[in-house]
């Protein structure tokens, strides 16, 4: 396939995956490709990355698509004609490393090894950090254990799982550590042991990636790049839905959250200062008049410091929306400097104040953990009861709401057909500066089944759909 066609297919796929690629960037990439030969794969990848991907959070998506599109190009990545020479050499090396076994029967190919032998060799390779051997073993084990059949409509994760299970990779780390302990003459100190462990985990991780890459190559060879890219298409971290995030996606969400909070805090601080002019700053004006020969041609103004809002967060942390509540709390506390005061409450059918958890530690993760484990939020049966929670809140803390307070209500408003007690929200609205409701459910699900977000929403200053980080970010920016 000529490079041009390949590139345009690649760029279409990048756009499909949600990466913004403009026309000029496309042209730049074409320019770059002229300078760097496609054979030098790493450099080629970085060249495309530098011209097409302008945000680090998109890099992973880019990398995956790149692997799919270019995996079958370049000699060393072609699986149809495996570089037999190197394989052979590898094999000889393996024979040497396998002392005592002395089985002459193994006829010069890797296929004759038993699974146990492969596992033993893998352990050896991991122990010594032998990269070439790890790669060869990754190939071999995929071929052997994944059980891939052409045309079978199964995702890559299934094959990955099968391969890794056969190699017993979960216990590999313990085994390696044990072997290491046996090998060392003296007792290892805790620090040394910790370092060894990290070293081994990183090697195992590397091996896993090799296996994944091998599976992907085989799948592409079987199904073609376009089809493969489609199955691998994943939402970008900022588009992952809170309510349906897998564990991996949760991790990437958490990673995306930190830089986001920094950005948000900087932007809010700037916004507060920006565009507002106060009284004339006499000193500053005179200073700048020097440039105009003493004529105050460029008047300078003092910036007023508007009061920061006070925030009360009331979050439903029952199963389905827990992740959303967690993220919102993390986000709010990460930028708490932008508010004069933040208080937070969590509920399921009972309600509990958790402000102190966040006060006692600087580590937000730890505070969230305490919220999950220690907060007293169950009253009767541990099914969401917004009505009761709101009622108790009003009784205990209603007085604390002032005209400076902004109240945030988080939840899907699925009340399990309990009494709504929406008068509480109405009362809150009367006292507070603003009341907002954030709902992690798609808008089309609102007010279906036992969701009564409309009933509460009538008394708020706005109900917002907050399904992903992007929407949440947009809302918080508006808030402060």
């Amino acid at each position: 396939m000529p490079v041009l066609d390949l590139m345009s297919g690649f760029i279409v796929e990048l756009r499909n995956a949600g990466l913004p690629v403009s026309l000029t960037e496309n042209l730049d990439a074409m320019q770059a490709v002229k300078e760097i030969p496609i054979e030098d794969r790493e450099a080629f990848k970085y060249a495309l990355g530098a011209t097409l991907v302008k945000s680090n959070s998109h890099w992973r998506a880019f990398e995956t698509i790149f692997e799919v599109y270019f995996s079958l190009r370049g000699p060393e990545y072609d699986i149809s004609q495996d570089p037999n020479a190197t394989e052979e050499e590898m094999w000889r090396k393996m024979q040497e490393q396998k002392p005592g076994e002395g089985k002459g029967s193994s006829g010069g190919s890797m296929d004759s090894l038993t699974p146990e032998e492969i596992a033993a060799m893998l352990m050896n390779a991991l122990m010594n950090g032998d990269q070439a051997m790890m790669r060869a073993l990754a190939r071999q084990s995929v071929q052997r254990f994944a059980g891939m059949e052409p045309g079978r409509p199964v995702g890559g994760t299934y094959y990955l799982y099968r391969t890794l299970r056969n190699l017993d990779l979960d216990n590999m780390l313990d085994k390696l550590m044990q072997a290491n302990r046996d090998r060392a003459q003296d007792e290892l100190t805790a620090l040394e042991e910790r370092l060894e462990k990290d070293e081994y985990s990183s090697r195992i991780e590397q091996f896993k990636q090799e296996v994944e890459a091998e599976i992907r190559r085989r799948l592409v060879a079987d199904r073609g790049a376009e089809a493969m890219a489609k199955t691998l298409r994943k939402p970008l971290p900022e588009d992952v839905e809170f309510m349906h995030a897998s564990r991996d996606e949760m991790q990437s969400l958490k990673k995306a959250l930190y830089p986001l909070t920094r950005k948000l805090a900087a932007r809010l601080a700037r916004k507060r200062r920006h565009g507002r002019k106060g009284p004339l700053d006499f000193r500053n004006t005179i200073r700048h008049s020097m440039a105009y020969g003493g004529v105050p041609a460029d008047p300078k103004f003092k910036y007023p410091r508007p009061a920061k809002p006070e925030l009360m967060v009331i979050a439903d942390i029952s199963g389905s929306v827990a992740a959303f509540a967690r993220f919102t709390l993390m986000l709010v506390y990460a930028i708490q400097g932008q508010f004069s005061k933040v208080r937070s409450f969590v509920f399921i059918d009972g309600i509990d104040e958790v402000t102190s958890y966040f006060k006692s530690t600087e580590d937000i993760g730890e505070a969230i953990h305490r919220v999950n484990t220690e907060a007293d939020v169950v009253w009767v049966d541990g099914h969401s009861d917004y009505g009761h929670a709101f009622e108790v809140f009003w009784e205990r803390h209603g007085k604390d709401i002032t005209s400076k307070t902004t109240v945030l209500l988080l939840g899907d408003a699925r009340n399990n057909y309990h009494a709504a007690q929406s008068w509480v929200v109405k009362e809150i609205q009367k006292r507070a500066r603003h009341v907002y409701w954030l709902n992690p459910e798609p808008r089309s699900y609102w007010n279906t089944g036992d969701s009564i977000v409309g009933e509460y929403g009538a008394y708020t200053d706005g109900v917002y759909e907050c399904r992903n980080l992007r929407q949440l970010e947009g809302f918080v920016e508006k808030l402060a």
């Binding site: 300078e35 530098a50 011209t51 945000s55 805790a190 020969g293």
Partner: protein, 288 residues
């Protein structure tokens, strides 16, 4: 520019000669930047050598480094050019009656009365320069627009004088600590390079080149401990410059082999938050 890089490998070796250890990605982007004549936007955590990259490239090319430090409130009179008002005033007052108005007008808006600021200086320079626009994320979005003309056309328009076009295309590096999203317009004009913490091998190499007389063994241990610390969930992970500070500290203390006690006592060089230090100390001397 006189020296033109032959290949990515040449860039990499060249940077190594000036004590900057580039990985494949960094060298590749620097190479491309020169070939395509495009600015490079370098992003990444603080202390990973973004600014150093520009300095090293300048050293490698034997070019002059012109640096524009960005900050909030930066305006064109500090980034591009400014008229030298005092001199202009003097010129007008010097011979009040001899010149006609048009002569004076012609005269005071000539290059003699122009104060060049970093961007204009980089453009108008005769010899090769490397332009470093540091921490571009600190300026307001509106101010970014100042940079656009320079970055894409390599020219500066001055209403009174006309357009000054670059005599040679300078290499431009913009660095950003990612405190805000840069505008699309700016990003589109640049090549993007994300510099992350180096991997184990590279970090060890960096320690070996930057800290004289350090032993292989100690450098290896330092790199490994730093990697372990970076894996923890910290407020601020140790940067490369902090790794180097730590290595120097250990050298000064005459420590050849780090044990848990030494590590604990010197952690404050590596980490700057009390909570981080406590966490790392707890993790590193973990009882098995």
């Amino acid at each position: 520019m006189e020296t033109r890089f032959e290949s990515v490998q040449v860039v990499r070796d060249g940077l190594k000669k000036v004590h900057y250890l580039a990985d494949e990605g960094i060298a590749g982007v620097v190479f491309l930047a020169q070939r395509l004549g495009k600015p490079v936007l370098v992003e990444g955590p603080a202390g990973t050598g973004k600014t150093q990259l520009a300095k090293s490239v300048a050293e490698l090319l034997g070019a002059r480094l012109i640096r524009l430090q960005c900050y909030e409130g930066l305006d064109e009179s500090k980034a591009l050019y400014e008229w030298n008002y005092k001199k202009q005033l003097l010129r007008i007052q010097a011979d009040k009656n001899s010149d006609s108005w048009s002569d004076v007008h012609e005269d005071i808006f000539s290059e003699e009365f122009l104060l060049t600021r970093p961007l204009l200086e980089a453009i108008s320079s005769e010899e090769p320069v490397v332009l470093l626009i540091d921490e571009v994320d600190r300026v307001e979005v509106e101010t970014e627009a100042l940079l656009l003309e320079v970055l894409s056309e390599y020219q500066v328009s001055i209403p009174e004088l006309g357009t000054i076009t670059a005599k040679q295309i300078p290499m431009v590096f913009l660095t950003s600590n990612n405190t805000r999203e840069l505008s699309e317009a700016l990003k589109r004009r640049c090549l993007y390079l994300h510099v992350d913490y180096p991997d184990l091998e590279r970090e060890k190499e960096i320690v070996l080149t930057k800290v004289p007389d350090i032993s292989q063994n100690l450098a290896d241990q330092i790199a490994r401990i730093v990697r372990s610390i970076r894996q923890l969930d910290l407020k601020k992970s140790p940067s490369v410059s902090e790794t180097l500070d730590w290595a120097r500290t250990l050298m000064l203390l005459g420590i050849e082999h780090i044990d848990a006690q030494d590590a604990k006592e010197t952690l404050h060089v590596l980490l700057k938050y009390q909570t981080d230090i406590a966490k790392a100390a707890k993790e590193l001397s973990v009882e098995k």
